[in-house]
Symmetry: C2
Subunit: 414 residues, 2 copies
């Protein structure tokens, strides 16, 4: 087992890492520097071929499971369980070069460093390219055993079956259950990812120690008042659904900003009927999205809001109906892995802070079967899922250094 | 000149009046009792023929001016100026039996009563059927000289020219200026109309003494924030255009409800971009409609609101732009006519209250050339521009009685 020292800061080859990021970005590159590499597309398949080549060059053996996940293994002194890292290389239709890709290429860079320094860890070390993170998340869900068993659930909008999709990347729907893994098989999972938000940049920290992937609930809120002539209806005789909606929007915002904690709450969609300047709104349909690490906390917030809705309905003389439309329980990061990332940052002299991930990641499913941790590096201006997404070469290198050191420490701990 | 006494309550023939209302409602009658009698349509023309017949039977001479206004005159002891009443018989596509029609048929009933009682007023008494009140208001605007001189302004959506439209009802666009009248010609104008709102019913009064037709301003409000991921964007880093919009909606509502006065203010239309449950709203386009008797008061309210918008823009970190889209100066009712209506109600033992008209009426243009007054009777549940519009036969009779007595008093006053 290795003793970690300051000198590890120089072990990661930042130039090599960033050259790989640039090279992969050519596959599916958009005119303005962004990337379009939809899961199962020819670009996805081309990129996988390049990744496989790099994995092999880094001394890894490569296998593809039934979910199409590409798994590179760098042998350890002992057998299973493995230390696993990874992320995805598929993108949204108009995506950036870092979301997902950084986590995969950082894993390969870790293997390259192990290889060139003739380091062998106690545990096998794996790098996973998860299938279709941006849409179905079928790759990580197959490994966690949390996928939907109905193949129609995964049929794509162009009609392609999941069987055909998976075959394109070497998978097989009929054998999907064989992709399932467990704690006995995976000692710990650590994912490096760009933040996709602006917290680190705003607070001026280099590394984010992720506390977990948040729970999320979503509701549809329907407000029924009475449409009326905006001229002839005195203020006191109105049942204005939009005035009620405005009170709800501010109640949601106050709840999220004034309750202690890191919760976020959003009213993102709102439609007014009949939506004419000279008619008092008769009906409003709107949405509520609340996220926090703790699903209990989310439920408490919703309960507080529902109390307020009763009061709003009374004062505005409207009917307010709130219907759940989404409920996802989050995944906490293992405290031991968070502590290890913190120690690593301290050793490397990198600034850091704890924060939740409020976006989905492959790690959220991996955390359901084993100890999970995530490392964030800053996203410029918090922009993601956009061709403008940017994380500097230095930041990519720093994140990969933290991943490397963390994995080595975990190799000793697990 | 006549001395008014309590006995006038029995002079109006309520049965005859309401029979006329029913008979006219057959022209353009909808299956459920409503009326569709669009201006210039075959139904409008048929209805005008019946009105003309009734005017002649009531001892009136009938002429049609260049705007297609049908003017029945019951001769007075003296010549001009005339005492004038009237309203319109055209309807919205799915309208009721009372809006406009009551005012015309009440005028004819007044003439019938004068005729059967051999009463001759000092002034000539006119009943006017104004052309196209529900859309262009070209009839009253031609008389007031406030019409738009561009014929294209009046072209209908089916392509019909205003020349052709007016010809269908006996008018002539080329001679429209000849329809103009003045104070020398019209001593006073009094219009009886259904309230089209729910104030009288709510306060339990039989007659509304209209203070004037309100001024109206309308604005487009554009709020620009920053669209962002509803998960990864902490509350403190948001520039949420919908939160700003909610504050504006409540500011508008508070201003209208908490400022002394009868003003109404409405945010009726609101569109969110990108309008997705998981995206912090980046832009909101909304509307503001403010109405009050005094345009100065409306402007003061708008000025107060603009001060609040500056504060809202700062706290929400959004840009807010307010653009005027409509500005209509209202018309005040002559105090002398309001007082006469009040006296009449007191003599007749009818309950009354003063109120503004927040909907448009032919009276608003007539008030620009002469002393104007309006009498309202209640609309059931405040419903108007709907097949469900209803004012009881007794209420129609009461309103007509008030019109009759008022005209007789004005005959002495002017």
């Amino acid at each position: 087992m290795l003793k970690l020292m300051k000198t590890f800061t120089s072990i990661i080859n930042g130039d090599r890492l960033n050259l790989s990021i640039n090279e992969l970005a050519h596959i599916g590159q958009l005119p303005n520097g962004g990337v379009k590499r939809i899961a199962y597309s020819p670009e996805d398949i081309l990129a996988r071929q390049l990744i496989q080549k790099w994995m092999v060059e880094a001394g890894m053996t490569v296998r593809i499971d039934a979910a199409g996940n590409m798994i590179g293994t760098y042998a350890g002194i002992k057998g299973a369980p493995a230390l696993v890292t990874g992320s995805h290389i598929d993108t949204v239709p108009s995506g950036g070069r870092y979301d997902g890709t950084l986590g995969v290429l950082a894993g390969i860079e870790v293997a390259r460093v192990l290889q060139e320094n003739s380091i062998q860890l106690a545990h096998p070390f794996e790098v996973v390219v998860f299938t279709d993170e941006e849409s179905s998340m079928i790759g990580c869900k197959a490994i966690a055993g949390t996928y939907n068993h109905d193949p129609e659930f995964y049929r794509r909008s162009d009609g392609t079956s999941i069987q055909k999709s998976l075959e394109a990347v070497g998978g097989n729907w009929k054998k999907l259950a064989t992709a399932k893994r467990s704690k006995a098989d995976i000692a710990a999972f650590v994912e490096l990812h760009v933040e996709q938000g602006g917290v680190l940049e705003t607070i001026g920290k280099e590394i984010g120690v992720v506390q977990g992937i948040v729970s999320q609930t979503r509701y549809a809120i329907a407000i029924t008042g009475r449409p009326n002539h905006a001229g002839t209806t005195p203020m006191t005789m109105r049942r204005d659904a939009l005035v009620a909606a405005a009170q709800i929007i501010l109640a949601v915002n106050n709840l999220a900003t004034q309750t202690p904690g890191d919760q976020v709450a959003t009213v993102g969609s709102l439609n007014v009927w009949p939506n004419a300047a000279n008619i008092v709104p008769g009906r409003v349909d709107t949405s509520l999205d609340i996220r926090d690490l703790s699903l209990n906390h989310v439920d408490n917030l919703v309960e507080q809001l529902q109390q307020q809705l009763i009061a709003i309905a009374t004062t505005t003389q409207t009917e307010i109906k709130m219907t759940p439309t989404l409920r996802v329980e989050g995944t906490l990061a293992a405290p031991q892995i968070q502590d290890t990332i913190v120690e690593t940052c301290q050793q490397l002299g990198l600034t850091y802070d704890h924060l939740p991930s409020r976006a989905s990641h492959d790690a959220q499913e991996m955390g359901k079967i084993t100890d999970m941790g995530m490392i964030f590096v800053p996203s410029s201006a918090g922009i993601s899922h956009s061709e403008e997404e940017y994380t500097s070469p230095e930041q990519c290198t720093q994140g990969t250094q933290v991943l490397f050191n963390t994995l080595l420490q975990l190799d000793a701990l697990y």
